[in-house]
């Protein structure tokens, strides 16, 4: 009898773990830089990284890891979100109770929900700061214009995700914030009313009905928001963020100034006819003589460790906050009794402050102007400055500082007038609505910022400095409006220095 098959079977059985491992990791253990480079290059999940990364990219003070932080928070949100879906029931009669169960009954439910909440805050903060970093280092310049656009899309998706998530607990807070949000979506009616065409053409009502599935917020709205929150928007964000990462590689890695690389050799040693890419290990056609081959490091371990550190920090921050501060849950939603004040999440409060002057301009017009303006930056400023340096050096920093002073004065000044003396309707009660739509604190701010930017462009003769001026104004306006609306707005959206001054009804 020949027992070779049995013998082979026995050997295979003993070795099965090893052969399984070898079938997954085709190259075996990576023990050299070359092997690690190959791993990055040939691994489906890691090939989104380049094999080598420039030393300049790894300097923490250049990126502050903000893009990685955004993605780390997104990863936390996906994981905790799936866990929350195990118990959450998107139905008007069950939603509130299922959140309560999560909070009080489900093991670790409260902690997971808090984590989800804090990671969401973290993601919004990281995304906004990441946008500011990319802007101030001039990293939107050619060839990275399109990646800036993708980033804008991701910003909108991030805000959309947080807006749709707000309603799901079906408590007073989310319900009334969504009433406000959906009425902003319906506010084009202000314009159609002015034009007198609302009975025939009412885009506001169409948007509202598609969003809510009804004229009021109920079962239909809840299931639609749920669908957007857990499927549509996360899938869209995942797809676009993949392209966002991929474009970083294809656009030549993160931006860096020319001086980050040693100057090319003055005299070429010899010029070969054929070049070998060698997985980005060697660049250019001339062999390097008398200098470091490249100013780069292998992504494994340097970049991967940096990313891991960012992930750990994001997890740590979320966990500490989630442990100490609970996500809010108010009374069950009651359509008859409004929350007063009904406040949106903090990152929408700047918009809500503008909405308190004109729903359409504050909620749709000005945000659209801001988004379009931001998106156009890389196409309107085509200067080839010192890319990859904060503020393009001293000149930009000076413009940014003066813009900060100017915009802070303008915003505080206009808010002071509006809060202390009221606005046009208080002075001229019969004023037609179209004047309010066109002239309100929000539009005045936009105009003041635009004029400042144009003035900088003319005096400094630079589109980049004009962009720095405008972007700084935008950030300062966003920050001050958000602050005032968060801290100083009370019932009926009136101004109070502290919450202790709120009237008691």
């Amino acid at each position: 009898m020949d027992y070779r098959a049995t013998q082979a079977f026995r050997t295979n059985l003993v070795r099965v773990l090893r052969t399984l491992r070898d079938s997954i990791f085709r190259r075996g253990k990576a023990t050299s830089d070359r092997a690690r480079s190959q791993a990055i290059f040939q691994n489906f999940y890691w090939h989104i990284h380049s094999v080598r990364v420039h030393r300049y990219t790894l300097r923490p003070v250049f990126t502050w890891g903000l893009g990685a932080f955004s993605f780390a928070f997104f990863a936390i949100l996906c994981l905790t979100g799936i866990l929350l879906m195990v118990y959450y029931k998107p139905s008007v009669s069950l939603a509130y109770d299922s959140i309560k169960d999560l909070h009080y009954v489900v093991p670790t439910g409260r902690f997971i929900r808090n984590l989800h909440r804090w990671a969401a805050h973290g993601m919004v903060v990281a995304v906004i700061l990441h946008m500011a970093r990319v802007f101030y280092t001039g990293s939107y310049r050619k060839p990275r214009e399109f990646n800036w656009l993708l980033g804008m899309t991701l910003l909108v998706l991030t805000l959309g995700l947080s807006f749709t998530g707000y309603l799901l607990p079906w408590d007073q807070l989310g319900y009334w914030a969504t009433v406000i949000g959906s009425n902003i979506a319906g506010s084009p009616r202000e314009v159609t009313d002015v034009l007198g065409i609302t009975p025939y053409f009412d885009p506001g009502a169409v948007i509202r009905q598609v969003l809510l599935g009804s004229n009021s917020i109920g079962e239909e709205a809840l299931i639609r928001f749920y669908l957007l929150h857990v499927i549509v928007l996360p899938l869209a964000l995942g797809a676009i963020v993949s392209v966002h990462f991929w474009r970083i590689r294809k656009d030549g890695g993160l931006s860096r100034p020319e001086h980050a690389d040693p100057p090319p050799p003055e005299q070429e040693v010899f010029r070969p006819n054929k070049t070998y890419g060698l997985m980005a290990l060697v660049k250019g056609k001339t062999p390097a003589v008398d200098r470091e081959p490249e100013n780069t490091l292998p992504s494994w371990p340097y970049l991967l460790l940096a990313e891991l550190a960012v992930l750990m920090l994001a997890v740590a921050v979320s966990m500490v906050l989630a442990y100490h501060f609970d996500a809010p849950l108010k009374e069950p939603a009651n359509p008859a009794v409004p929350e007063n004040p009904a406040k949106a999440p903090w990152y929408f409060l700047g918009v809500q402050e503008l909405v308190s002057y004109s729903a359409f301009m504050g909620g749709i017009g000005i945000p659209l102007i801001c988004l379009i303006g931001l998106a156009l930056i890389p196409y309107l400023d085509r200067e080839r400055g010192t890319t990859g340096v904060w503020f393009d050096g001293k000149g930009g920093l000076k413009v940014a500082a003066w813009s900060l002073v100017y915009s802070a004065l303008v915003v505080v000044g206009i808010l002071f007038v509006a809060i202390r003396y009221g606005w046009l309707r208080n002075w001229f009660p019969a004023i037609p609505q179209w004047v309010i739509i066109l002239v309100n604190p929000g539009t005045v701010l936009v105009l003041a910022f635009a004029l400042w930017s144009v003035a900088v462009m003319r005096t400094k003769n630079s589109t980049r400095l004009a962009a720095i001026a405008l972007f700084t104004c935008f950030l300062v306006g966003f920050t001050i409006l958000t602050y005032v609306a968060t801290i100083h707005r009370g019932p009926n959206w009136e101004f109070f220095w502290t919450k202790g001054d709120w009237p008691i009804y």
Binding site: D193, S214, Y357
Partner: protein, 145 residues
């Protein structure tokens, strides 16, 4: 050189190719628009917007009363009955007695783009007053029994 008998600005193969691509674009976009029609509801899942509020003589002259669970104000003055919605036209908050509107629902201050919506009143078969929160009437119009 004899003149070309037949100028062909668009070769036949190109025409077929363009026609094919065109039909793809038209078909797919029509299909997409058709499919996207789904989220816009045809029937709104809401309770009836018309409701009875009581008999006319329950509202003596100079009445002003809020129907709390319906968010509607009912008034009766020398000219007749009128009703307006308590839902603010700014962002849909519920207007209370001490808010910034007058007894005609006109905006006194604040960001509301227009006055409160005046609602249609009618008489039900049993003789009670009926409000239709889904139908607006011109501000200032009155309903007389």
């Amino acid at each position: 050189m004899p003149p070309k008998r037949f100028e062909d600005p668009l070769p036949r193969r190109d025409f077929l190719g363009i026609a094919a691509m065109g039909s793809v674009v038209v078909t797919m976009s029509t299909a997409l628009i058709g499919v996207l029609r789904l989220p816009k509801p045809a029937a709104l899942p809401e309770s009836a917007s018309r409701f009875k509020i009581g008999f006319p003589d329950e509202f003596p002259p100079e009445t002003h009363r809020k129907i709390e669970d319906r968010n509607v104000w009912i008034f009766r003055d020398a000219l007749g009955f009128y009703a307006f919605s308590a839902i603010c036209t700014h962002l849909g908050c519920v207007v209370t007695e001490n808010d910034r509107v007058d007894s005609g629902g006109r905006v006194l201050s604040g960001p509301a783009p227009r006055g409160l919506d005046w609602l249609e009143l009618s008489l039900a078969v049993d003789g009670s007053l009926m409000v239709d929160a889904g139908k607006t009437v011109n501000p200032g119009s009155r309903f007389n029994v």
